[in-house]
Symmetry: C2
Subunit: 361 residues, 2 copies
């Protein structure tokens, strides 16, 4: 079979060595005679696996001891509900900064659970889409927390600096940016991330939460969404998505083997630069995001002549460059280039973009 | 490698042909050049997969058109919360019939969301554990629904007949009995089942719900738990656990290929009978469940001399018979013999039980 580079925004491609290992040990994991997905989550073998996966993630991200790491069901949208259920006591309010479609969806869902202040932080005045400076984010000092999304998968906007608001806990949806570059966990009250972009298959969500924020969940918090219950039971109050957890562990191991987050961060910067530079030097392709907020994980671009969209996608697919169609909200194209996307995949994409431009100028 | 028979209660063993196929196409599914877990849940290939999986389940279980089939995150415990959130309007009450540890846990969780009447339906008067007749279950005619668990995985109690209560919708946790024998779906308002016993890997839950029960969820129902939202979006309001869904589809295909539910029902009855008959004819092993309520899926048994427990487990494991330790609540042994456990596995277990008895008499 010929190599396929999969630019899907999620579920996304996984590292080739991880998939090869998982396939090899699929029906007989560590000589148990069983698949890892057939083992009890409470077996000593599986418990050792989960402990090692957590240890690896803690090392990769330098997670301090006063943070719990939870392996949960349900994806990012599950956390849209879990965050207010756990952190927003009745009678208080939370601030939600909106910079794109995912942070907007988070704010909308949270409003079902309490009072939410929405802060629009997008500036689109000059035809260039940009993010307002942190000092213009009108966060109230008595907010239970402030929520934002450092990387907007649909819009292609990434915020690399970390805001600070005078003791208000910061909650971040890092689904599409976690592990792609170094982040200072100590600046956050809570970080969550659906696995299906930089961590593993869909169905698993990582929550990293500062211990002092635990134990405030309202009574009617579903047990599988209660952070304290998860923390007190090593994320095994109910049967966890065991196979996804195993694959996440393999991804952490792979990341460690290639030099950790700092190594992959360099490659990610190079991959993104290659596409943006090509787009900026061409009038055939467009991207209107302020360069300091351009996502390194999800690169949207538009053909100046949108009537060529179908031809672009069809010819790209014929060359093994798949899932480049942009999200229906914004149209155009989108190259999601998470950690697992090799540099060669991006080189091949840019070469194709060049060839397509030359053939359709 | 030598054959291992895995009697784990869940995550449980999966059918050998399913695992072989999944391994073979693990990194290149249907010539896409990708793993099925790397595909967008909204891709035409994956949508075709989910449609086929649902069609197969509908045929296997004879699910009428006025029932929706949902593929959800979160496992059975997720449904312990989702059921009252969706079906119990504020100010009303629901009845929960308790016949073992899982139905008890469901009732306890539901009480966080509304008024719950608990009905104890276990009769243990004569040293034999039995289930009270349906006409002694004091279900109130104005209950929003009545919840019960047809198969108690921990206790080894199965209720084969289906109760009826004058129009009160019946909600059943079928996690450990779904697809093991024919059931008349029309008798239920809602059926749910965590996948990790008879359907696939953990992280997926099937909900089968009568359409007239949709649309009553309270406002503060987490979006990923809202049945109407799931139904309106083909279970793709958020990214579903795609790989688990794929494996479930393979399990349905396998079940179809061996003759469907009626065929597997016969094998299941034979497997269970083999163990119970041996236990009943021996004073070395014990089981105190009323024979008409003995589970065909989870067979608990106790050694008369419990000091031999460790030796039993150790020697069984050495013969490739693994995960036979009973649940910590009840102790002893438990053989979970779901659809995927072949008859030969049970024959080997009974042969070992006989040998162990002879060696320790």
């Amino acid at each position: 079979m010929s190599v396929v580079y999969n630019f899907c925004a999620g579920p996304a491609m996984l590292p080739t060595p991880v998939m090869a290992k998982a396939q090899q040990e699929f029906i007989n994991w560590q000589n148990t005679g069983c698949s890892v997905m057939e083992l009890s989550h409470r077996s000593k073998e599986f418990m050792a696996l989960t402990a090692k996966a957590e240890e690896r993630l803690r090392q990769l991200m330098h997670i301090p001891d006063n943070y719990k790491v939870l392996f949960c069901h349900g994806g990012g949208r599950g956390q849209f509900s879990a965050v207010p259920l756990n952190l927003l006591p009745q009678g208080q309010h939370a601030d939600y900064v909106v910079t794109g479609s995912w942070s907007e969806a988070a704010a909308k869902e949270a409003a079902n659970f309490g009072k939410i202040n929405v802060i629009n932080a997008i500036d689109e005045s000059e035809g260039i889409k940009s993010v307002k400076p942190f000092n213009e984010w009108q966060v109230s000092s008595d907010a239970a927390y402030v929520h934002y999304c450092p990387n907007e998968t649909v819009d292609g906007i990434e915020i690399f600096d970390i805001p600070e608001f005078d003791g208000v806990p910061i909650v971040a949806d890092m689904s599409s940016t976690i592990l792609s570059h170094h982040i200072d966990v100590t600046k956050f009250g809570l970080i969550y991330a659906g696995a299906q972009k930089n961590i593993g298959p869909s169905g698993l969500t990582i929550v990293i939460v500062r211990e002092d924020l635990l134990g405030k969940a309202r009574v009617d918090t579903p047990c599988i969404m209660n952070y304290k219950t998860a923390a007190d039971n090593d994320s095994m109050y109910n049967t966890p998505p065991t196979y996804a957890w195993y694959l996440a562990g393999l991804v952490f191991e792979w990341l460690e083997s290639i030099g950790g987050v700092s190594a992959v961060e360099k490659v990610n910067a190079d991959k993104a630069a290659l596409i943006y530079q090509y787009v900026d030097n061409s009038s055939f392709y467009l991207n209107n995001i302020d360069s300091q907020f351009r996502s390194r994980m999800n690169v949207p671009f538009w053909l100046a002549d949108e009537s060529l969209n179908d031809a672009f996608l069809e010819q790209a697919e014929a060359e093994g460059l798949v899932a480049l169609k942009g999200h229906r909200i914004v149209g155009g194209m989108r190259a999601s280039i998470y950690n697992a996307m090799p540099f060669e995949g991006v080189q091949k994409l840019v070469a194709f973009m060049k060839k397509f431009e030359e053939g359709n100028r």
